[in-house]
C-alpha cells in the first residue's frame, strides 16, 4: 500500500527523523494560511498524488509569500498531473502539501527495501540524490552502495560507518547519520514497510540532515496489525474497480482489452492473459477469484467484470484443486441469470467436480460455450469477440 508524502513525513516525524515543517491544504485559502504559519518567507507547494516525477510535471512550485502560495496552490489543485509514473491518463490533484523552504548544501539518496534474493533488508545509498535511483543504476551503478541487514541482528555500527563514508561523510556527520538511519530501520521493521525512500536526503549548510522528500510503501499482508497505517489509504488514488475488488477480497487488475477473465489462482490467471494474447486476443482484466472461491464470490467477480464497458466476452477458467467446479458453475449460472448476461460466455472447468460443474451449466439454459483445454478456451473467447486482433 502507498501513502502520500505528507503522511510519510508525519510518520517520519513520529520516529524522530528530521523533516521540514509543513501542512496539508485542500483549498488555495488553506494553502495561504499554511504558508503564513510556516517559519521563513519561502515555501514549497507540492501536489499530493501517489506517483513520482511531480516536479517535472509541474506539481511542485516555489512561493515567496503566503499570497503567492495561494496563487500557486490554485494552479496546482484540480490539475491533472502527467508524469512517467502516472501513465498517460494522469492523476487529478486534490491536496497540496505546503512546506517550509530548506537550504541545500548537497542532495543524497537513502532507501531501505526488502531484498528478495539476498533475503535480508537492503540499505541503498547514493551521492546522486534527487534523481530516480533506477536512472542512477543504469548510468553510474558505481555511485550506489548497498548493504544487507539481517532483521534478527539489526543494523550494526560498522554498517552506518560504511554508508557514511561512501556518502563522503566525516566522523562528525556520521554521528548525525546514525540516529537518522536507525530511525528509518526501526520504522521499516515496526510498521512492516516494504519501501522507505528518502530522495533527496538533504545536507543543509549547517551540516544537519533532513528528509526533503519521502516515499513509504507498506506490506499489504501486514496491514491487519497496523490499523493506523491501513487508515492512511486514500481511496481517490485507487482504480475504483481495483478498490471494489479488494473490498470483496478478489485480486483484480484492469487492462485494455475486451475479454473479461475470471480465473482461480494467480499463476493460472496470469497464464490465461498470456494464452489469450498468444491466440491474438486482448484481455480486459486480471482476476484471481482465489483458492477458496464459492458461489457468492463468483457472483461478485462476474458483476465486477461486467462493470467494464469494454468487455465483449467473458472467459471463466477454473482448475479445481481446492475449489469445487460444481460450486463455481452454480455461481456462474446464478450471476448470469441475475445480471441478465448479454455477452458470450466461455467456460472451462477442470479438476475437482468438473463433470458435475459442466452438467450444471448445460442444464442452466445459459448461452455458454463449454471447452476442455486452455487453448480451446482462449480460441473460443477470441472467436467470441470477432476473431484475432479485435
Amino acid at each position: 500500500m502507498n501513502v502520500h508524502e505528507y503522511q510519510a513525513k508525519q510518520l517520519l516525524r513520529e520516529y524522530g527523523v528530521p523533516v521540514p515543517a509543513g501542512e496539508l491544504a485542500t483549498t488555495p485559502g488553506e494553502a495561504e494560511a499554511a504558508a503564513r504559519a510556516l517559519p521563513g518567507d519561502v515555501c514549497v507547494v507540492k501536489a499530493q498524488i501517489h506517483a513520482g516525477g511531480r516536479g517535472k510535471a509541474g506539481g511542485i512550485k516555489l512561493a515567496k509569500s503566503p499570497k503567492e502560495a495561494k496563487h500557486v496552490a490554485s494552479e496546482i489543485l484540480g490539475m491533472t498531473l502527467r508524469s512517467r509514473q502516472t501513465g498517460p491518463e494522469g492523476k487529478v490533484v486534490r491536496k497540496v502539501y505546503v512546506e517550509a523552504g530548506c537550504e541545500i548544501a548537497s542532495e543524497l539518496y537513502l532507501a531501505i527495501v526488502l531484498d528478495r534474493s539476498a533475503e535480508k533488508l537492503a540499505i541503498i545509498a547514493s551521492t546522486e540524490g534527487g534523481m530516480e535511483i533506477e536512472e542512477v543504476a543504469a548510468r553510474s551503478p558505481e555511485k550506489i552502495v548497498t548493504l544487507l541487514v539481517d532483521p534478527n541482528v539489526g543494523l550494526a555500527a560498522y554498517q552506518v560507518r560504511e554508508i557514511g563514508f561512501s556518502l563522503g561523510f566525516e566522523m562528525e556527520r556520521i554521528a548525525k547519520l546514525e540516529p537518522f538511519l536507525r530511525a528509518l530501520v526501526r520504522l521499516f521493521v515496526e510498521k512492516d514497510a516494504s519501501l522507505v525512500e528518502i530522495n533527496p536526503l538533504v545536507v543543509m549548510p549547517s551540516g544537519d540532515l533532513i528528509a526533503l522528500d519521502a516515499k513509504l510503501n507498506f506490506d499489504d499482508n501486514a496491514l491487519y496489525r497496523h490499523p493506523e497505517v491501513a487508515g492512511l489509504r486514500d481511496p481517490d488514488e485507487e482504480d475504483p474497480r481495483e478498490r471494489e475488488a479488494r473490498e470483496i477480497d478478489l485480486a483484480y487488475v484492469g487492462l485494455d482489452g475486451n475479454i473479461g477473465c475470471m480465473v482461480n489462482g494467480a499463476g493460472l490467471a496470469m497464464a490465461t492473459l498470456d494464452v489469450i494474447s498468444v491466440c491474438g486476443g486482448s484481455p480486459a482484466n486480471f482476476l484471481d477469484a482465489g483458492g477458496d472461491a464459492d458461489e457468492e464470490k463468483v457472483r461478485d467477480a462476474f458483476k465486477l467484470i461486467l462493470r467494464d464497458p469494454k468487455v465483449k466476452a467473458i472467459l471463466v477458467n477454473i482448475f479445481g484443486g481446492i475449489v469445487r467446479c460444481d460450486l463455481i458453475a452454480e455461481g456462474v449460472a446464478a450471476a448470469a441469470s441475475e445480471i441478465g448476461l448479454e455477452v458470450p460466455l466461455v467456460v472451462r472447468l477442470q479438476g475437482n467436480s468438473a463433470a458435475e460443474g459442466r452438467a450444471i451449466l448445460a442444464k442452466s439454459g445459459l448461452n455458454v460455450t463449454p471447452v476442455e483445454t486452455l487453448r480451446e478456451a482462449a480460441e473460443a473467447a477470441v472467436a467470441a469477440v470477432g476473431g484475432p486482433g479485435r
Binding site: 485480486a251 487488475v253 497464464a271 484471481d288 484443486g321 479438476g351
Partner: protein, 292 residues
C-alpha cells in the same frame, strides 16, 4: 524415486481449521499416513481420526512424525514454522497465504543452519504420485513417472501436471514453492534436488513475473545441471507496478519482467514454452525419450 516426500513420510498437520481438516482427510484417502495434528489447547482430542497434540514437539515424540503441513492462519504461521523446526521435523510445507514478508524473513534467517527444509509459504504443497500427498494439490491428476515439476503457482502447476499426464508423461515429484517474495525452498534448491534424483529425467519449471528467482535458476541450470529443463513464465502481459494476485508477482523498478526471465532461461539452454497451453507438448518435443 522422488524428492522431499515418499512412502516413508509420516505427516503432521499444524492448524486443524476447515482447510486443515479437509486436506488431512484427502491426504489420508491418497494413502499418506497422517499421524498427528497440532492444535494448542486441543491436545488429547481426535479429529478426522487423527490424534491431536498441544505442541509439535509432543506430536513428534509420540508419533514419529517426520514432516509437517502448516495451515495456521497468517498471524501465527511463521511461528508454526519455527515450532516445526524446533520439534525436529525434516520437512515443513507451509500452505498459508498472506504472511507478512518480514515474519518470513525473520523465520527464514532463524532457520539458517537448521536441518529442516521449508517449502512455501503460499504454496500448494508437494505430491509424489502414488506415494505421498502434502498440501492441497488435486493428487488424482498426477501419475508416476520421470518428470520433476516445480512452480511458484498453484493452479498453474495443476494445469502443467494435467497436460503432462494427458500426454502419458508421469511425474517424479510435483512441487509448488509458493508465490511470496520470500520462500523457504527456492527454484535453485528444487533444481538441485531434482538433479540429484536419478529417476528424474527432465524438469518443468514454471516461473512468473517478479524478483529474480528465474534468472538465478538459469545460472544454476547452465553451470550445474545435466537434466534437461523446460520452462514457462507467467505474466508476459502483466503491466508494470501492479501486483498480480501473488504477493511476489510484481514488476518493480523495471525488474522482474517476463521477457528478461525468458531470455535468461533461453541463454542457459532451457526451452521456454510461449503459451501456457503448450507446456506439456513442449516437453514432449524437447525430450522425445520421455514419450510413452
Amino acid at each position: 524415486m522422488s524428492i522431499l516426500c515418499d512412502q516413508s513420510t509420516r505427516l503432521l498437520v499444524q492448524g486443524l481449521g476447515r482447510m486443515g481438516r479437509l486436506h488431512a482427510r484427502l491426504s489420508i484417502e491418497y494413502g499418506t499416513p497422517v499421524v498427528a495434528g497440532v492444535a494448542p489447547g486441543k491436545g488429547g482430542r481426535v479429529i478426522e481420526g487423527i490424534p491431536v497434540f498441544d505442541t509439535a514437539r509432543a506430536a513428534v515424540k509420540q508419533t514419529g512424525a517426520n514432516a509437517s503441513v502448516i495451515f495456521v492462519p497468517p498471524p501465527g504461521a511463521a511461528d508454526a514454522v519455527l515450532e516445526a523446526a524446533a520439534a525436529g521435523l525434516e520437512l515443513a510445507v507451509c500452505i498459508t497465504e498472506g504472511i507478512p514478508a518480514l515474519d518470513m524473513l525473520r523465520a527464514k534467517r532463524a532457520l539458517d543452519g537448521c536441518p529442516m527444509r521449508l517449502v512455501g509459504p503460499n504454496c500448494p504443497g508437494v505430491v509424489t504420485p502414488d506415494q505421498c500427498r502434502i498440501g492441497i494439490m488435486p493428487a488424482e491428476i498426477t501419475r508416476p513417472g520421470p518428470v520433476g515439476v516445480v512452480s511458484r503457482s498453484g493452479t498453474l502447476t495443476y494445469e502443467a501436471v494435467d497436460q503432462l499426464s494427458r500426454l502419458g508423461i508421469g511425474q517424479s515429484t510435483c512441487l509448488g514453492i509458493g508465490g511470496d517474495p520470500i520462500t523457504g525452498t527456492t527454484f535453485l534448491d528444487a533444481l538441485a534436488l531434482f538433479e540429484a534424483d536419478p529417476e528424474t529425467r527432465a524438469v518443468v519449471l514454471i516461473g512468473e513475473i517478479g524478483g529474480s528467482a528465474e534468472e538465478e535458476a538459469a545460472e544454476f541450470i547452465q553451470g550445474q545441471m545435466k537434466t534437461p529443463v523446460v520452462a514457462f513464465i507467467a505474466g508476459q502481459n502483466a503491466p508494470p507496478g501492479k501486483r498480480m494476485g501473488h504477493a511476489g508477482a510484481i514488476i518493480a523498478g523495471g525488474k522482474g519482467r517476463a521477457a528478461d526471465k525468458i531470455a535468461a532461461l533461453e541463454r542457459a539452454g532451457v526451452v521456454v514454452a510461449r503459451s501456457p497451453a503448450e507446456i506439456g507438448s513442449t516437453l514432449a518435443e524437447s525430450v522425445p525419450s520421455l514419450r510413452p
